[in-house]
Every structure is written in C-alpha cells, then in structure tokens.
Amino acid sequence: MDNFTINVLKRRDAQVGLAIILFFVLVGTVGAALAPYKNAYNPSAYYVAAPNALPAWVKIFPGYSKLPANIILPATYPLQAFKVPSAVDYWTVTDPGVGGANVVSTYTAGFGPTGLPNPGATYTLLNTANGSELISIGGSSDAPVTVYLTHSFNYTYEPPKMFYAQALVYPAQVEGAGLAVFLYIKSSAGVYPVALMADPQGEAALESNPQLGSLYAQYFANPTLPPLIHSSWNLLEGITTASTLMPLYYLNRSVSVYSVPETVFSHTGEYTVGELIEVFPHGDYSVRLYQSDIKFQIFGSVYGLMGTDPHGSDVASEYATSTGVALEIGFGSAAIVMVIGVFLGLLAGYLGGLVDNVLLFVFDFLLLIPGLILLIDLDTTFTIAHVTPNRVLLLIIILGVLGWAGVSRIVRSQVLTVRSRSYVQAAQAMGGGSMYILRRHVLPHTAALIIALVTYMVPALVIADAGLDFLSLGITQRPTWGNILSNLINNMTPTNGYLWWIFIPVGFSIILLSVGFYLVGTAIQEEFSRFT
C-alpha cells in the first residue's frame, strides 16, 4: 500500500491537484484564523473602507495608481482617543488673539467620555474611558473669539468616495458666552464645515450673522440635529453618506449634495482638517471644554488584498472565512458519506440476497430523486424542529445523510468482483467469518477506490452547500461562497466593475476546488486500476 501511495504522489496530475487542495486548506485554516473580521456580514464589520473598494494591488496599474487608500487622522487609536499626552500635540491650537483671549490647552488623564450610546455606525469611535484634552478660553470681549485646532496633511490622490469626521466635546463651563463647535476641512479651494453643534446662545449668535444668518437658521431648523448640551458629552460628526446633515450643504450652496467628497477633495495639495471653537462673549467670559475621540477618515477606494463589498466589508476576510466553512462542510460531510456509504456498500455486496435488493433500491432512490429537494425538505424540518442551532453542523449532517448512495453503489459492485476472487473463496473455505473476510480481504482491495470516490465527493458536497446558501436555505448571516454569490446578483453594475474582485475569486475557487479534487481522484483511480 505504501508503494501505491508513492506511485500516486509521483504523478504530475496528483501533485497539481494536491497543491490546489493544500492552497484552499491553507486559506481556510490559516487565512481564516488571520482574517480580521470573523463574520464580515455583521454590521460591525461594515465600512472598513468605502463600499466597492478595489483591491489595493490594483494601484500598480497606471490608471488606478491615484486611488486613495484609507487615510485616518490621527492614525492610531491612542492619539484618537487621547490615551497619551502627546495626543494634544497632534493638534495645533491657534489663538487669534481677539479680545485678549487666553487659551490654554492641557491633557487631562483622569477625565474622559462616559454615558454615551452605542455607536450607530462602525466608523464612529466612541471610547468611554479616561483621557481627554481640556481647552480653557477666558478673557473679556464683545466680539466673537475663534480658536482653531488644526492638523495639516498632503493629499495626493484622486477624490475619495466618502469621508467622515467626528469629535466628542464636553462643555464643562460656559460662562458669559455662547458656544459653537465646528469640524471643517480646508484647502486652497475653500473652507468646508462638515459638522456643527451650538448651544442656544451660540445658535442665536450664528443666526444673527448678517450674511449667513438665514442659512444657519435653516441648518438649526433640522430636527435630527441635536443642540450642544452643557456638562455632557456631545458627539459632533459628519459623514458624506448623509451629506444633507452637514453644514456645508446649507452654507456652501455651490456644493452638490451628491458629490461632497469629490468637491471637498477635488485636487491634490495641502489640506487642513480641524476643529473650530467659536465663543460669542458679552463681557467677561470663561469657557472650559473637554474633548476626545477626534477622528477624520477618508475612506479608501482601494483596500486590502481583495477590496470591499457593497457594505464596505473586507472581502479578504469574507473569502478566507467562507473557504474555511466550505472545507469544513466538504470534508465533514464527506467523512459521514464515507462511513455510511462504505458500510452499506460492503453490506449489500457481501451479504447479497434480500439485503442487497433492499439496499440497491435505496441507493437508486437516493440517486434518482433530486438530492436538492430532499435536502430542502430535511433542512426545513430540522430547522423548524430546532435540532441544532449550529447551521454548519446541521448541513454537514444533512449532506452526509443524503450523499452516500453513489459511494455505496460502487463499493458494492467492487465487493462483488473481489468476492469471486479465489483468495476470498479460500478464506471462506477455511472458515473465515464474514466480518473477518470483509476486514481482511475485501476492504484493503477496495480502500483506494473508496478514497478516490470520496475525493470526487468533496467538491460535490461543497457545491451542494454553496447551492443551498445561494437559495438562502443553508448557512445564513455569515459569509459563505453561496451567500457571497447570491449577494452579488443585485449589486453588479458597470459602475462598480461588476464587482469582479469578488465575483472572479469565488467562482474560480469553486471551479479550482473541483478540478483539484478531480485530478487527485483520477490519479488514485488510475493507479489503483494499474495496481490490481
């Protein structure tokens, strides 16, 4: 038997097939373990980059080299969430010096956001723990005092599809003044306010602005925008997918609501993102404002190894985890198929007579009636009866229970030929029991064939599962090859390149997996026929 294995392994087709299988096993185990998002269909994994982002490696092609990757400012979590004192230095505080203002910015380690609701979206950073920046502004004036916190960076890409800006502010003390806080992006083309919050006094002050007052009034009339509340953490945010909630939509009438990211980042060059704190004092004033979780994100139009799907989820994670599921189901149910199929095939072939006839009828039944219908039936009843909440296990069982007929049939016919051999008859004549002969003579001579058969079965079972998922009857709410494909139907359009970076890898994986197992199975079978 060792000799046989070596002969098989020496064949070129078996090597290619094994290499393909090994590739998928690696993707399904190591890749799935390394995947950053274990379930990319969970909304918490959405928007890792812009929806329909291309794979990052397309940037090597000339036409795509200017596509932006994810740009997050500040880049690291400790800086965003003000976990380290240097987070304060990231932002340059500019005091215009109006009205003798005295601006002090200090790092506060012991005070941070609390009592915030869960983030509505994945790009929102809500860190409810200590660490914030305290800005104190004091003085005496009647003219508005504006304080800027800015950070400049160089943008060298094509316009992005999406960007997001957020900050958490806590007005601890506002005495003798009204307060408004803006988030804005500035370039040589202009200043674009992307988020705005004001307390009632600040709102009144903005609305009394001679030029823009009526526009501010329209902005604040929007009931979905909450006012700035004192002594409480306020989330100040703007996202271009809801650009009608951005102040620029009201104030910069030239910006089309459909092309906010394209307008704001229309050219390459130096950009400034920042926060604008506007104080409207009347006489002596003192403002103390804590802030934390400041984050600007330009969503990449390219992302990772395989881009993103229409939800902005990481396709590489989807692919790796779904390959893992596919192999789990393929190998798991193939094991069940092998056990049942071999056992009943041996039984039918060796015992013959009535047992053989009945079993043959069962084999035919399972082969002739479309397996998919039986699968759907069993799947439905097991789902209703809550047999197991683990859908993967359920599918392994169902596929295994329904898939063995082909194996049984061939094992049976093989047993019939082996049984007539003289050494089996000799063993029988010497008083060998049925079980002994089956184990000692019949099984070793059918083992290779059985392995070849099961090899053929694995891709068939994987495809059967993919089909069930595709019909949304199999595994739900997590990525599998079938789910990925069924989600594509309504999302493939020329504008997103037919999502080729999802469509091609998944389709070719199914084909390649079939080919790989086919090559190995054929190699085993051919060597086996030469062997006997």
């Binding site: 082969l367 009636i369 479309p370 998919l372 759907i376 039936d377 595709f470 389709g507 084909i511």
Partner: protein, 346 residues
Amino acid sequence: MFVVTVRFIIGRLINRLITLLMLVLFSFLVFELIPQSLGFKLGFFFVGITQLNPKTAQAQLAAVDAAEQAYGLNAPIPIRIAKFLYNLFTLHFGMSPTYKEPVLTVISQYLPNTLVLVTVSLVTTSVISIVLGVVAAKSFLKSRWKIGDKAASLTSIGAYFIPAFWLGIIMYVVLAAQLHWFPINLFFALRGGGLHNYTGVEYYLRYLWAASLPIILLTIVGFGHRQQLIRNNIIEEYNSAGYVMYARARGLDESTVFYRHAFRNALLPWVTQVGLDVAFLIYGVFFVEIIFQFPGLGIVTTEAATSFDIPLLIGSTFLFSVYILVVLFALDFVYALLDPRVRLGE
C-alpha cells in the same frame, strides 16, 4: 417477444411506483414523524406559524390544537400514513398557509414554467451530448490530431465543472441586465413591465425569448457528463467489442459499423444516465429560476422552505418526483426499443 417486452415494462412500472411510494414515505417521515418525535406540534404547519407571538400565544395554540384535531395528526401512525398516501395520490395537498390558497392551485400556476425549462433542456442536452459525443469519438478514432475530440471534450468537461449559479449570474448580468438582449424577467417579457398585454403568437414568442437564457444555461451545465459518457462508450465498443470486429469481418462499410453497431450499443448506458441527469437538471432549475427570475416551481419550493410552508413543500416534492418517474418510465420504453436483449428476454 411482445409478451417479454410487456413484462419488462410492467416490471419497470412497478419499480417506479415503489420508488414513488418510498418518496411519499420519506415525506411522511421528514414532515410528520421527525418533527413530532422531536417534540414539535404538527398543527403549526397547517396554521402557518413557526414562532409563538407572546401576546396571542393562547389563541395561536388553540388554533394549532384545532388544526391537529381537524387533520387527525394525533391518530395512530398507520392510519396517518394511509391518509397521507391517499391525499397525495388524489392530489389533495391541502391549503398553503402563505398563499392562502389550495396547494394544487399554487403549483398549477407555476409548474408549467418549470416543466418547459426542464423538458426543453432535457431535449437540448440530449441532442448536444449525442452530437458532440459522436463528433469527439469519430475524431478520436479517425483523425490524426484528434482536434475535434479535444475541443469537444474540453468544452464539455469545462462546462461540467462550472457551477450553474456562477455562470448564471454572469449571463444574467451581462446579457439581460446590461445588454438587454434578453428580458430581465418573465413578467417584463410577457407584460412589458405592465404596459402591454401580449397575446397569441407574440405571447409565445416572448415567452420563448424569456425562457431561452435559462434553457441555454441548463443546457451548458447539463450536457457534459453524457457527452463524455457516450464518447468513451463509442470508443470502447468500437475498439474492443467482438460484434464490431465481426461486422467489419463481414465486410460492412465503416459508417454502418460505426453507427449501427458501435454507436447503438454505446447509447444504452447513455439512456440510463439520462435518468440521473433529470435529477441534475431539476437541481439546476432551482438556481436558474431564481437568477433569471423565471417564476416556476423551483422558486415556489425555495420560498416554501424559507417560510416553512410545509403543505406546499410536500406537494412540490411529490410533483417533482412524479415528473422524474414519468421521464424515467418513458426512458424504459426507449431502452426496451434500443436493446434487443430486453425484447428477447435475455
């Protein structure tokens, strides 16, 4: 001779009927015995609820109990089996809880579409597999470079490996959704998006237009297996069968030897394979109907499964099986015609 053929046919008929009976028993096992033995109340199936609503649980449970009473679901198992059998064979499938209509009415609306797809593609796959199989075998046996064989075999093996739903998405998105060479769904083809009401010849032409893409897909994924089978069989028969040698020794010309002897014998396993391929086509029809939005029994069955509409599921399972067994029985006739051994009772 005639008697022998009749006996063969009757034997097959009995065999097919037993298969159908087994399927009904399988349905009974799956939809009545297994849920019940797992502690699930069958009445839920007939009322059409799967999860109790806490507010109206009392009323729902009463309805479930009433349904169990009305349908006799707590009767002894033999009586229930007999009733189950009687209901199916007299086409009394009951009411579909989701459609609020008798199951038979629902199925008879959608069954014709599926039958058209499966039957037509069964014919097209058969023709293509025979033609390409003969071309490949001839090329393998006669031509030096075997280009015809390589091309035909590569096509059919390739087509066999491509998953139907993957290829279907490509065809739908490119040919129907973007290029508009084909309608985006059956309703659009027949009613022009609700603007037209086509009748007469135009209706059937437009129906064919909508059905062509699904049929093409089913044909592409369905013919490969049988093409390879008939190719290999012809080559084997032609090269090694004794009667081929004998025919050649008698001085028959090559095309007679090829078609009347080798080809005809190679056709027998092919006929057996058709039976298995019907099951495969029905497998494919589920995907094809969903991808091309061609409303047939496949879509109805899938929806019945997702909405736990058990009476509808039982009905469609039964009718799919009847269809397959009718095709298989028709093939038994073909087999008897082709194989003189059957007629002569050997």
